[in-house]
């Protein structure tokens, strides 16, 4: 194990990785549309969503402090807390499938945005493919190269968004200032309803956890990094919402498919549109970089506990899980190619897999409660204050987000139904895998020392050779 001072990453990298996944292109769209529906009252809605996501992030941080060197993060936490079956269902449904689909659709939208803005005779699919290749190469060069790219992209994105938001908020743009009511929704019920949309602006801070074994003073930097990134995003988004209100009518924002580009254009004309196009490119690059690295680490972690074929554990000479990186990158490109410009059906699928992602958040909160009960005296470098209150608030908040997954009741019901069916199918497949490959009781939690022992490659090798694991 590397000495703490030899580890390549610090707090700055944790913040950039967390922000990278959260601030994606679809978040920019959600920000504009949410602001269009609620006006500046979207800011209090974002504050509520921030608190709910801070609860989830704090729970993840406590789990990380209980198993600080676990490669896959939630894989190991849930295995120790609830057993193999919930782990496999949550990780395959809530992370692998969900994020590969989301990444693919992001890539397709990115290609469309670039084509519409730059008007170059280049097919839309070329842009995301080029970016994906650069990201894959950086990931293959190891965690250091990945972190450098992430730092550059995340902080440039942060400063760009704050700058363009401030220009609007201070009415310094070249476009015409709009006179309109600051708040569209003024009653508390409308604000609470907007929390559903606002929640998507903060989901994904836990993606810094898979890199925790490469982070100096991870006990302090992981929880602190997640909190800082969430607060920074809240500040950045709030400034941009104030800017929106000065230059774009709320109705235009809510009806636009690309409200951030509309804002850039109304604020600074053609230059503003190109600027927001660059912001989109940064958001796409940051989220894809976090996704590729995070998912490959999670896949590697799942391989260690025999929940994925062992081929995904293969590493290159830089220590990067090469097969997992290529698998994630190629899957995202294939989804991007298949979805193309028409992403309606895929968007519905994203709602479904997002429900699964949120279910895995609920499992994480449950892990905290279960592991506190089973290991009350284990020394946790970070413990969520307030006893069981925060995990319970996290569970209730996540259930609320699932309940408000869509503003269309018919679509919401369909999303819940498909999610339930998906969970059932994944459950049956997982049961088969656990019985056949892992030879474990599906719902029996695995002791923490055993889960952590699985980090050692010899754990798999010995069991595989003796026929205990297949």
């Amino acid at each position: 194990m590397a000495r703490d001072e030899d580890k390549p990453l610090g707090l700055r990298n944790v913040v950039s990785v967390s922000m990278g996944l959260i601030v994606s292109m679809s978040c920019l769209v959600s920000l504009g549309q949410g602001a269009g529906e609620a006006g500046t009252m979207f800011i209090p809605a974002m504050a509520i969503a921030l608190v709910l996501n801070l609860c989830s992030a704090a729970c993840m941080a406590e789990l990380n402090s209980l198993m600080p060197n676990a490669t896959g993060g939630l894989v190991q936490y849930t295995l120790a807390g609830l057993g193999p079956l919930p782990t496999l269902v949550a990780m395959v449904g809530g992370y692998l499938v969900c994020n590969i689909l989301c990444g693919g659709v992001e890539a397709a939208i990115f290609g469309t945005v670039m084509t519409q803005t730059l008007h170059l005779p280049i097919p839309a699919a070329v842009w995301p493919t080029l970016v994906s290749i650069v990201i894959a190469v950086c990931a293959l060069l190891g965690v250091d190269a990945f972190a450098k790219l992430q730092d550059f992209v995340s902080y440039l994105l942060l400063f760009s968004m704050i700058a363009i938001g401030l220009i609007g908020a201070l009415r310094l743009g070249t476009g015409e200032v709009v006179r309109q009511q600051t708040a569209v929704a003024t009653d508390p019920a409308s604000v609470v309803a907007a929390v559903g949309t606002a929640s998507w602006l903060f989901v994904g801070a836990e993606y810094c956890i898979p890199i925790s074994k490469d982070v100096r003073n991870a006990k302090r930097n992981i929880p602190l990094g997640m909190i800082i990134s969430l607060v920074l995003i809240f500040v950045m988004d709030s400034i941009v919402v104030l800017g929106f209100g000065n230059y774009v009518p709320w109705a235009d924002l809510s009806s636009s498919a690309t409200p951030h580009l509309l804002y850039g254009e109304r604020l600074l004309g053609g230059f503003g549109k190109v600027w927001m196009c660059v912001v989109s490119a940064l958001a796409f690059t940051g989220s894809q970089n976090s996704t590729v690295n995070g998912l490959s680490q999670i896949t590697d972690g799942m391989t260690k506990v025999n929940m994925m074929p062992h081929v995904f554990a293969r590493k290159n000479r830089h220590g990067a899980p090469a097969v997992a990186i290529l698998f994630v990158t190629i899957s995202i490109c294939v989804i991007a190619f298949l979805s193309g410009g028409t992403s309606d059906s895929i968007s519905f699928m994203i709602l479904v897999v997002t429900v699964l992602w949120l279910v895995s958040y609920i499992l994480a909160d449950l892990d905290v409660l279960v592991l506190r009960r089973r290991f009350p005296k284990a020394p946790r470098a970070f413990k969520v204050p307030g006893g069981p209150v925060v995990p319970i608030v996290g569970i209730v908040g996540t259930v609320f987000m699932i309940a408000n997954i869509s503003s269309d009741p018919a679509e919401a019901r369909l999303v819940w139904l498909v999610s339930l069916v998906t969970l059932a199918v994944l459950g049956v497949l997982s049961l088969f895998w656990i019985r056949r490959k892992m030879h474990m009781a599906p719902l029996k939690p695995v002791p923490i020392p055993q889960v952590l022992a699985m980090e050692n490659d010899l754990y798999y090798t010995i069991r595989h050779r003796r026929g205990i694991w297949r």
């Binding site: 194990m1 000495r3 198993m67 600080p68 060197n69 946790r380 020392p449 952590l452 022992a453 003796r466």
Partner: protein, 115 residues
Amino acid sequence: MSAVSRIDIITGMEKFDGLRRTLSRAHVRGMTVMQVLGCGVEKGTKEYEVDENYEMELLPKTMVSVVVETSRVYELVDLIEKELYTGHIGDGKIFVSDLTQVVRVRTGDEDTDAI
């Protein structure tokens, strides 16, 4: 209960640097370090093995002894626990014992004055 206590920490050698730094930051003045051989309840079985060792296998460890005011024991044990904890087998053990007398030879100071 005596005014001074001894804390003996047995842990893996790779954790010594972090432990030394933590104790220094906590204003612990003085420590004794020994390289020792030993094993715990797992009889030296590696964490990835399937079967437990039949006979005890002794592994190289570091033993750190510090003498502190008894009033600080709780705080220091908590700090040490958090520093050493990884969740893996082999994180170590902490033993706390009362000391009946401590004398600094050079000055003749006793108990808390001597540490």
